[in-house]
Structures are given as structure tokens and as C-alpha cells.
């Protein structure tokens, strides 16, 4: 604790006067009922600099962003730019002052095309009439300026855009109205690595053009690569602001939680030769001839770019999306799975990527969510045995250390990490043979991630076969016993834990794009008859 207070009184504030256009945050505090979300935070956000906000969930990053964006008003403290006091009563006022926060899920109007989305609210007029020609011209010009004309087709409708494209649209919106301070909230959480690179190029360019950039992320590696300074929050307080060059992964994590990074991923490999799942020649609207297998006690990673068909593969196997051909053998028996309840009855569990939309019934209790997949087993003559239900649910809620005041708590009122644990508790209770985890650590804090890694390891050691889908290479590499790489609906390679490196995985994921790569030994030798 004493070291951290010393960090705050760093030379940061006494340093040379801030350049014009600096957003100066002074002594900002904000309390919500029962929680002090921010206390006495002072920070300078300088033009021409990328400043990272880091901290566990609940540390106050989002609250700070929302104050900057005018969603919330601080209880005390000030925001000033060039000596001018800013006081926003809503996001529109912040936008007018040149401040934009781009949240994880950008607000895109679904039925309207890209051009109109970018200009939403202030369509260009000519003689008092909306000018489509001028609109298209302007949008094309600004996209071209940043080299995105081929990434975002301007006539696509909002609903057709990928996460990456949505973010670009939101950024273009900000640029069009002359942004001075641009904040990005977890911008890469739904991007594939290649898209991340594009985003970084754009962010660096904006910085060089003199925009002050706030970058919020859980991904330490990204922060260290991209950002100039790092501000670390813990429990609503600013713990440290340091140049990124002076920080290491371990240092950041220590400042955030007081734990070392090395504890994070530990996999005691325990794979057996007993197959629990074999998929052969699977075809669907998204896949051509996908074959793979998972053994009991194995964590099998599925890597690939966004759109490679990993989530869809999980859903086809689970009976949520239609299968056009191929066979699924579970525990040595060929099975037909028509619906998710079939899959569950046959011993497959599936924790979906989007826990709020697909995983949880947010307005119902922790208990009801945890027991949802085993209702039939819990019931006798259709009456739920409530004592049994409570004891099973509380067992897994405790095993997973879900922080909830009671089993009756509404799941929507828990933090992201705890919500994810409730989904996992549901599947542990169902005791499947194969558990499909689709991005199980997305959007949750470091502490909860570490717990989930430990859990995956434990489950595999208990003999479960785990299909582990993730876009984060370090966790795929750290946890998987084997890795399959998908690209455009095909498996382009299989790597053992020993062979797997970030580079090897990325090569397989982008096989088409890297036309310069020779059809070389490295790739073809790793392909296991999936050609």
C-alpha cells in the first residue's frame, strides 16, 4: 500500500506544463449507493499520447470513462481543457466539446447504411435538403484518408457489419466531428488479431495527428505495445501512472491485484487416449469437411480469426445450428443431435460466447440459472426437488467462488466474471462428458480469468474433454493440450502443445492471406489428414 501511494505522487503532475488541449481531470470522485466508484482521481490526458486505463472489474475504469463521456456527473472534482471547465449533462455535450468514448458495443443503427450511420444526427444538407451525393463523397473521402475504404463498404447496412467494422464506423463518426479526446473501451475484445493490427495502426495515426487517446483494455500485451503511458486503477483510486516503457506484464498485474502473472496459467496435462468426441467430415452452412477429436482429460484449443467458424462449429455440434453432413461420435457411439436438449442429454455442455444474450436469464436468480440445464434430473413427477437443487447449486457456486450475496440474487446484478462463473456452475452441475467453452474469459477481470483457467485445468484432470474456443492466443497456447486452427470453415491444421507458438497458429489461421508463405514444411507437416 505504501509503495502505491508513492506512485501517485510521481513527477507526473509536477512535470512540464501540459500542452494545450490536455484534458485535465482533477480530484474527481463518484459514489453509487454502497460503493465508492471513484475517489479523488487526478489525471492528465494529453494530445498526441495514448494513455491506457487498466484495472480489474470494479476498479472504476468504466465510471471514469462515463464521466468523461457525460453519462455520469462527478460528485466532486473538475474536468478542464485549456482552462475551460467542462461540465457535461449528457454525451451529446461531451461530443460537442470534442470528447468521444467508444464503448465495447458501438451504437449502430441496424437498418441504415454505413454512410448514414457515420453522419447520424447531422446529415449533410444542400439547399436545406439531405444530399446523398455529398454524404457518400464525404464518407468515402474520410475512409480513404485512413485507408479503410476496402474494409467498410459504405453501402452495407448497420446490421451487416462485424464488430470490427462497427468500431470503425463509430471512430469515423468521432473523427468527422473533430474529436480531441478519443476513448476506446476494450476495443479489441471481439477482434481477431489481424483486425487488431489495423486498429492499432489507426490509433497510432490519430495520436500522431494530435488526438488524445484513452485506451481501456484487459490485455496487457496490447497495452505495452500500443500505449505511451499507463494509468492503473484499483478500487476507485488511481494507483499509478507510469510510462509504458518502464512497466512489465508482471509489474502491471502486481499493481492491479498484487499477484504475479506467472501464477495465471497452469496446465497439468492429463490427456488420455479415450476418445469422448469424434467429428468426421462435418459439413454445414459454415463448414466444409471438418474433422477432429477430443479425448477425455484433454483441453483442445480452437483458434482462428473472427469469422473462421469456431462459434458456429460449437453450435452445429450442440444442435443449435443445422448440420448438413458428417458424423458425430460421442463416447464411441454415433449420435444424432437435433436440438440443444438432445446434446445435453447425451453429455455435451456449451457455455456460449455472449453470456448476456445466450448464456443467462439475467432477470432470474443465480439459483434458477445454475439449475436450468438439470431441471429434468432434479425433478420427480415434474416437481423440482428444491432441497436437492439448492445443495447442488450452492456446491458449485462455492467451488467456483461466485461472489453473490445469496442464491436468490438476480444474475444481471452480478459482475461479468461472476456471471460467467454462474454459467460454468450450470455446466458443472450437468456433469457433461464434453464441455464446449466459447471465449470463457471475454470481458472479465484478471483475477476471475485466473480462476477460470484453474477450473478448466481441474475439469480436464477430472476426465472431461474440453473444447476450448478463444481469440486470445496466450490462453489458447497456455491451456491447450492440442490446438486446431480454423480458417474460413475448414480446419487448416492441428498443433500439439509442443509445436504451438503464436506464430505457428497465426500462420494456419491466415493461410490464404499469407500468399508469400511457401507451402512449406512447417504448415503441411502439421496437418493431420484434414486436407
Amino acid at each position: 500500500m505504501t509503495t502505491t501511494t508513492a506512485d501517485i505522487a510521481s513527477p507526473d503532475m509536477a512535470a512540464p506544463p501540459n500542452p494545450p488541449g490536455t484534458l485535465e481531470i482533477r480530484n474527481v470522485s463518484k459514489a453509487f449507493p454502497n460503493v465508492q466508484a471513484l475517489s479523488d482521481v487526478s489525471l492528465d490526458i494529453r494530445p498526441g499520447e495514448i494513455l491506457a486505463f487498466m484495472g480489474e472489474n470494479g476498479a472504476g475504469k468504466s465510471t471514469l470513462l462515463k464521466i468523461i463521456n457525460g453519462d455520469y456527473q462527478p460528485d466532486s472534482g473538475t474536468l478542464t481543457i485549456d482552462g475551460e471547465r467542462l461540465s457535461f449533462s449528457n454525451p451529446r455535450a461531451a461530443h460537442k466539446a470534442g470528447i468521444r468514448v467508444i464503448y465495447q458495443e458501438p451504437e449502430i443503427i441496424p437498418g441504415v447504411d454505413v454512410a448514414e450511420n457515420i453522419w447520424a444526427g447531422e446529415l449533410p444538407k444542400r439547399f436545406g435538403m439531405f444530399s446523398r451525393t455529398r454524404l457518400n463523397h464525404e464518407v468515402r473521402r474520410s475512409l480513404a484518408q485512413y485507408g479503410f475504404e476496402d474494409v467498410v463498404p459504405i453501402h452495407s447496412l448497420g446490421e451487416e457489419l462485424s464488430s470490427a467494422q462497427r468500431q470503425l464506423v463509430e471512430i469515423m463518426r468521432a473523427l468527422k466531428s473533430g474529436v480531441r479526446v478519443l476513448a476506446l473501451d476494450e476495443p479489441t475484445s471481439s477482434l481477431a488479431d489481424e483486425e487488431v493490427e489495423r486498429l492499432f495502426t489507426l490509433v497510432r495515426r490519430l495520436r500522431d495527428e494530435g488526438v488524445a487517446i484513452i485506451y481501456v483494455s484487459h490485455r496487457i500485451k496490447e497495452i505495452l505495445r500500443l500505449c505511451d503511458r499507463v494509468a492503473i486503477l484499483r478500487d476507485g483510486q488511481l494507483v499509478a501512472v507510469r510510462p509504458a516503457a518502464e512497466l512489465t506484464d508482471g509489474e502491471i498485474v502486481r499493481l492491479m491485484v498484487g499477484r504475479e502473472l506467472s501464477e495465471f496459467i497452469q496446465r497439468r496435462r492429463a490427456g488420455t487416449d479415450r476418445e469422448v468426441l469424434r467429428v468426421t467430415g462435418l459439413r454445414s452452412n459454415w463448414h466444409q469437411d471438418v474433422s477432429f477429436h477430443i479425448n477425455a482429460g484433454e483441453v483442445v484449443g480452437f483458434s482462428g480469426l473472427i469469422g473462421a467458424g469456431r462459434t458456429e462449429l460449437a453450435k452445429v455440434i450442440f444442435g443449435e445450428l443445422p448440420k448438413n453432413g458428417g458424423s458425430i461420435v460421442l463416447d464411441g457411439q454415433e449420435t444424432t443431435i437435433r436440438r440443444p436438449d438432445d446434446a445435453i442429454a447425451k453429455g455435451i455442455g456449451f457455455a456460449p460466447e455472449d453470456r448476456k444474450r445466450e448464456g443467462l436469464v439475467l432477470i432470474r436468480s443465480v439459483l434458477e440459472n445454475a439449475s436450468l440445464a438439470i431441471l429434468r434430473r432434479l425433478s420427480r413427477f415434474h416437481f423440482v426437488r428444491r432441497g436437492l437443487e439448492r445443495s447442488i447449486a450452492s456446491e458449485y457456486i462455492e467451488t467456483l467462488r461466485v461472489r453473490t450475496p445469496s442464491l436468490e440474487q438476480e444474475v444481471g446484478k452480478l459482475s461479468g466474471g461472476n456471471q460467467q462463473k454462474v454459467v460454468l456452475a450450470r455446466w458443472l452441475a450437468a456433469k457433461p462428458k464434453v464441455l464446449i467453452l466459447d471465449e470463457p474469459t471475454r470481458g472479465i477481470d484478471v483475477g476471475a480469468k485466473a480462476e477460470i483457467y484453474r477450473l478448466i485445468d481441474d475439469l480436464a484432470n477430472q476426465g472431461l474433454g474440453i473444447m476450448f474456443i478463444s481469440s486470445e492466443l496466450p490462453e489458447i497456447l497456455g491451456l491447450s493440450d492440442r490446438i486446431y486452427v480454423l480458417q474460413a470453415g475448414r480446419i487448416t491444421g492441428e498443433l500439439s502443445a509442443a509445436e504451438a507458438t503464436e506464430e505457428a497458429v497465426l500462420k494456419l489461421a491466415m493461410v490464404d492471406q499469407l500468399s508469400t508463405v511457401p507451402a512449406g514444411a512447417a504448415i503441411s507437416s502439421e496437418e493431420n489428414g484434414t486436407a
Binding site: E320, P340, P352, V361, L372, Q409
Partner: protein, 377 residues
Amino acid sequence: MSSTSTSPTAARARGGAFRRLIGFIGADNLSLMFALVALVFLVVVASGWFGFSGGDKFFSWQNLMNSLAQAIVIVGLLSIGETVVIVAGALDISVGSIASVGSVVAASVLVGTGTVGALKILPTNNVLIAVFAGIMAGALAGAINGLIVTQLRVNPIIATLGTLAAFAGFAFLLAPEGKPIGVVTQPQFTWLAQGRFLQDLAIPPLAGSKWTGIPVLTVVLVIVAIIVHIIMTYTDFGRAVYAIGGNATAARLAGINLSRVRVLMYMLSGGIAGLAGVLLTARTTSGNPVNGTGLELQAVTAVFLGGAATAGGKGTIFGTFLAVILVGVLNNGMNLLGFNTFVQRVALGLLLIAAVAISQGRQARAERVRTRIAAKE
């Protein structure tokens, strides 16, 4: 993240006995009770101040047992079935028409005329079979609703708007030349509407009117309410209904067979509507195809007033039951004070809108709480 975080919500969950009582009854239900008391006060006391006469008759056994307790039964039954459907995030606006079908079918079996009676498949003149046939006709109609929604993927509002018309017409087709079937005379059957329990209890008269016992109709309503409450609270089906209403995708991915639950829930709602139709026949002593017309509006109003979420996933039978009483008192009070039925209809329409507006406001508030928690992260 570490052990330091004694959750603030945990602290809030403790608190006094009063809070626990509210927690048990439910804050929404409590406000319904307050509304009920306020309404009774308006009818009984305030009406006198504004020069209306009749308010003083409210607290008489004649009014409470013969008018109020009986008047709420039919709408009450429909509302209970409707609650299940609305909690599952759907809607059934055909319940009034299903009640008409149930009414005509029951009368047809009893009297032996009309399509069902003339077919002679079922032994006529048998009261139990008549009641059973009315309920089954309703369940069948519900199954049709369910299949239209699940197999043809028609939006529930549109689907049941269609069957609202179709079943209403069908009720006429089942009756000879579309005329009411009657007169039903079986005493065991008319007992359903005219019978009284506990008539001999020594209960002192109220406002000059003597204790006449509890109507059989009211007892049927209470029993059905209890059964459906048990289904919704203690069975896997009830859990599935809440889960589907809260998030259908998540429910499906957790292994709930959405189609089956939806068909069953429409059958439940339809079966109860069929029973309501049977009771209508008992009360009017005839199977009239217009018996159930327009009742769906009151049923839907009561469900939303009772605290069900318009988006589904929330709502209780108890809340609906309180709301049914509230609507009953409103109608009864307006009758006593001499307002005509047109005024009552205006009031009911406005009440539906107010109930939904309150429900939406409640959801928006809950949403804000969730965003606030997300914001702390």
C-alpha cells in the same frame, strides 16, 4: 477481488423484519394492496363527500359475496392462464373466444343439441363429462394456438388475434344456427354458479345484509389459482416458463425444449379458459357463443397490473390475483356509484395502459440498476 469485498448487497439483504415481510410479499404486491385499500376508501368514504350514493353498500355481504366475489371469477380464471403465457414472454388474446367455445361445448353436451351434442359421441346429460368436454375444448384450442406460434412461427399477438376471430366464429358454428344452447337445467351443474359453501356459519350480518356463504364459483377460482401457482413455482415446467420469458435463447441453449413448453403453456391457458366458459354456461344457464366476448382485455389488464413484465420472465399468480380483485372492486365500485358501462370501459382501457406504463417504468428502473452495476466494473 480478494476477501476484502463484503458485498454491499449482502448488507442490504439483511435488515429488519419489515423488510423481510416486504421481501416475502413482494414490493409490487404491496403497492397493489395499498392501491386496493385506497380504492375501497374512495368507493366507501370519498364517494359520500362528492355526493355519490351507493358507496355505503360496498361493505355488505350481499355486495361482497354475491356481486364482487362472483363477478371476478371468470376474468380471474382467464387472467391466471394469461399470466403463464405473459410470463413466458408471449400473449394470448384469444382467451375470451376460447371461453365462448368452452361454454357452447359444455351446454351442447348437457342439452344434446348443437354440433357436439348432436354427434352423440359423448353421453349427454352427464355433468362431469360436460365440464370435462368444455375444458378439453379449451385445451385443444390452446394447442392450436401453440402450434401456430411454434410450428408456423407466427408472432403470438398476431396468431392469437387470428384465433380470437376464428374461435369466436367457431363457437357460433357449434351452436344450432348460432343461437344460444339452453336452457341448462341439471341442478348439479347450476350448483356451480348458484351453490354456496359454509352457508350455516354463524357470521354476523354486515351493513344489514345476512351472511349467505361463499360462492362455489369463488372457491373454484381460488383452487385454480393455487394449482397454477404451484405449477409455476414448484415444477420444471414453471421454471422453464420463467426462463423462456427471461431469455428464450439462453433457455434453449440450456436444454429447454421451447416448442414443447410453449404448446403446453397455451394448452394450460386454453384449458383454464375452457373452464371459465363452462362456468359461464352454469351462470347464464345457456351456452351462448357471445359469452366470452371481450373478456381478454380485462384478463390482460389484470396480468400487467399484477406486476408481470411486458417483456416476460417476471410475474406471479398472487400478483395477478390481487390485480383481479382490484379490477373487480373498480367495476363494482363504479356500479354502486352509478357509473354506466361506457364509463367503465373507458376506465378499463386507461387502466391497461397505466398498468403497462408502470410495468415498463419498473423494467427501465431495473435496467438502470444493472447498468449501474456494470458501470462499477
